[in-house]
């Protein structure tokens, strides 16, 4: 199986600041996805980056992928209190299942 490991475990910032979280994985992938989970809710898909892409943007989200280092980063710019959540990465292979690490818990203080 292929599991992503997120870093840091917890991140606390002020509203308006940028938040960066990292993901490392172990084997070759087809794509990597980032998910968000608000407390007590299901996971919500944020963005997918394919193995042949290096950077992708979606609104205030920027994702990078370095396949040589087997790592990815998620940057949230101009953070808002509503961004407070846990963030998970999911490296994806053709094996089908996605496995998750314990995530990064982001707290954005107003």
């Amino acid at each position: 199986s292929q599991q992503g490991e997120e870093d840091p475990q917890a991140l606390s910032i002020q509203e308006g600041e940028n938040a960066t979280m990292n993901c490392s994985y172990k084997t070759s992938i087809n794509n990597l996805q980032w998910y968000r989970q608000n407390s007590g809710r299901g996971l919500v898909h944020l963005i997918l980056i394919r193995s042949n892409e290096r950077e992708k943007h979606s609104g205030r989200l920027r994702v990078t992928l370095d396949t040589s280092k087997k790592s990815s980063s998620l940057l949230i710019t101009a953070s808002r209190a509503a961004d407070t959540a846990s963030y998970f990465c999911a490296p994806n292979t053709n094996a089908g299942k996605s496995t998750f690490g314990d995530g990064t818990t982001l707290t954005v203080k107003p």
């Binding site: 996805q33 809710r41 299901g42 094996a95 089908g96 996605s98 496995t99 998750f100």
Partner: protein
């Protein structure tokens, strides 16, 4: 429905009882996944289905856990002789198909509490 639906949203049971958790995936999604999430941890993979068959059940913790998807749509996760350690949120997700983008659409989960 528009999204993945899970019932019940909350289930409290006593140790030793039998429990069924239901998942209604997005219409047309052929792949269906079950995860278990304990407080402060990420979702732990249990099993996934491609159509009616279990393509990978390597995450089921022991033989008290079983899941079915008889018609390739709705799935039921069954837990026999529940133990306190089974208490967790059970998440279901569906996707258009294995080997495609792999994007998962999650339900809100079923919170199981075993007293």
């Amino acid at each position: 429905g528009a999204g993945v639906s899970q019932t019940p949203s909350n289930k409290v049971t006593e140790k030793g009882k039998y429990v069924e958790l239901r998942c209604d995936p997005i219409s047309g999604h052929t792949a269906l996944y079950w995860y278990r999430q304990s407080l402060g941890q990420g979702p732990e993979f249990l099993i996934y289905f491609q159509g009616t068959g279990a393509a990978d059940d390597s995450g089921l913790p022991n033989d008290r856990f079983f899941a079915v998807r008889p018609e390739g749509s709705v799935s039921t996760l069954k837990i026999q002789r529940t133990e306190r350690g089974d208490s967790a949120v059970y998440l279901c997700a569906s996707s258009p198909g294995v080997g495609l983008t792999g994007e998962l659409f999650f339900g809100e989960g079923s919170r199981l509490t075993v007293l």
